[in-house]
Symmetry: none
Subunit: 416 residues, 2 copies
Amino acid sequence: MVTAEIIAVGSELLTPSRLETNSLFLTERLNSLGILVERKVVVGDREATLSESLRAALQRSQLVLLTGGLGPTNDDLTREAVAACLGRELRQDPEILNHLERLYERFGFQMAENNRRQALVPEGAEVLPNPKGTAPGLFLREGEALVFLLPGPPRELQPMVDDQVLPRLTRYLPIRRRFVRHLRVASLAESAVDARVESLYKAQPQVETTILSSLGIIDLFFTWCGRDDEALASRHLDRLVQQVRQELGSSVFTDRQEELEVVVGRQLLERGLRLATAESCTGGLIGKLLTDVDGSSRYFLGGVVCYSNELKQNLLGVRPETLERYGAVSAETASELAQGVCRLTGSEIGLSVTGIAGPTGGSDEKPVGTVYFGLSSKGQAQVKHRRIPGDRESVRMRAARFALDWLRTELEAFVS
Amino acid sequence: MVTAEIIAVGSELLTPSRLETNSLFLTERLNSLGILVERKVVVGDREATLSESLRAALQRSQLVLLTGGLGPTNDDLTREAVAACLGRELRQDPEILNHLERLYERFGFQMAENNRRQALVPEGAEVLPNPKGTAPGLFLREGEALVFLLPGPPRELQPMVDDQVLPRLTRYLPIRRRFVRHLRVASLAESAVDARVESLYKAQPQVETTILSSLGIIDLFFTWCGRDDEALASRHLDRLVQQVRQELGSSVFTDRQEELEVVVGRQLLERGLRLATAESCTGGLIGKLLTDVDGSSRYFLGGVVCYSNELKQNLLGVRPETLERYGAVSAETASELAQGVCRLTGSEIGLSVTGIAGPTGGSDEKPVGTVYFGLSSKGQAQVKHRRIPGDRESVRMRAARFALDWLRTELEAFVS
């Protein structure tokens, strides 16, 4: 059994306000190869402490992953500490330097002298490219042990682990294979999903089932781990996945690792329909999610962030009587907003959200979390109403996802 | 300077789904006494690993806090490992045993044989009562060092720290106090900030300076630790902070821990101005950020997500000639968008963004990352242009923050 040790570097991780979270991602990926994490260490930006931790780790573990401390500032010294600890010289890598210089030039910045430190490479180390940032990763073999130096920002670390680290682990270490299926569900509670599928996955204990929930999205992972061949794994996994899909029906929005807004985008494109949004309480979040997807201009026209009643009325044509009689947070307003944004933009489909995200603004009749949704096409509008739990951020994200998932199920029906 | 090491014990803390969080609370309490946490270690429920970690910690630190592994089950072995590591015998404490027996009796349970292990006390240890659970804490002095064994559940650990641990720290250790100042900067690169202030903070090595960067926001922390009184700390910190502020000028947007959108909101409110946005490449992200703030309806009217050229033209009045001659991503379009959204909404201030977020859509003339910003008031518009590095997500977030920061500096000038 291969064991690993994770050393997270950064004085900010020793303050009361910052948690070290990269190790969760790393553990998940290492576990997927059957590698256990035996120890996690957090140290500050001090060379002595770091060297000592690395030396101790190398005496115990075949695999050591260091995260953080690869930035351009003077308190970033993982490179230097590792080189000193392993007795290797640091050399400026002309290729990295050149790449950094071109990167800075392209954006019209003068490269600071400090940035040159990011081009330092310990003797014998392999450079791991970082498409998401300036600090490259490094890979060293020290006797039997493998040592990886990875950047601290999760958005830089994660792709580097998947693209650069995992392939090297399977090459150099004796590991098991792992097969995973992944289903994603929206607009259901985690406990409801679990109650419906529990008997199915319990009947297949060889498959490890994990259910995770995050602000309106439920992820179901089905994992097969073993030395066995792919055919056997697929047979077991496919049977369970098929049963779960049958039970959850159209609540499952994908079996690929894709976001709701990607699925909705594909549906719109396939049907040749364009979408416009009228967002009140979500304030632009649905537009932000839709335009997270490259190429979304082919089906998303845009819309109105109608945060004020003035814009609801003057721009989207919500009638003053509607606002007065039912209020801005009401089924009637949601309906007129969805129709209004179609009229204003010429879009085939209009999607609207109006609600009370909190923490202030609630009342007995309409407490915080009250949200109305409108969906308009061909001059007609449907309306939905939900009471959404959580704080301001949760209410807004859940509302945005509920709206997109409603649109998804309506679009599905649109062809069939 | 007293430094501490925290050792969290529990195999569940080495899985992909559980974060160790007790150390944040402990760090906060220790920092309040001027004690720095130099290292945090997470190990599983294995006696050898635990002993080794404790031994190493005692060689380095005057204070070691172990959390977890004091429960009644067989995988709880912190007591045994610590006793073995320090060469002390374990003895059953009749008082604890009696207390446990009465506790179980009171709740009508039969005490299991395993629970008797919770009454084991290493020779010379002091027992720390646990009013919230069954596992008492333990306190040992080993040479110059202090060792605390604390229960894992936060609701048991936290009162024990405040009531039992802190008083012992002030009794046995030369305690120092800790003072922090925090500045936040936008629209500058981390390396540029560092280059400009490096000589200032290096000239004051008694103050620990940390610089962190995240998608367009740079955080600078200045920390003073010492036996001295608050006046001395403030003198040193205030001098450095003042020098840094002078060097960075209006790039510093706050010395409180607040977001850019909060500062902008306050400025708008103070000046009685309302804002509307016209977002193309950011797709609603600026609206989302502004409305993250509760009460933002007092100064944010809303705006248009003008993702398509149709909306730019038909809704915001960008002239067809402008789009044809200069393109949607141009200074001219940014200017007309900002003016258009003022006209459309009646807002005093209009803020616009149009750019190429990538990964597709770039050209030689306008590569990915090219973004134009427009700011309109009183019928006039100003324009800025930036080349923003990074992937789609980074370009969009940096662009949104750049836009907000530009608005901030303009609003500052507005009064002065």
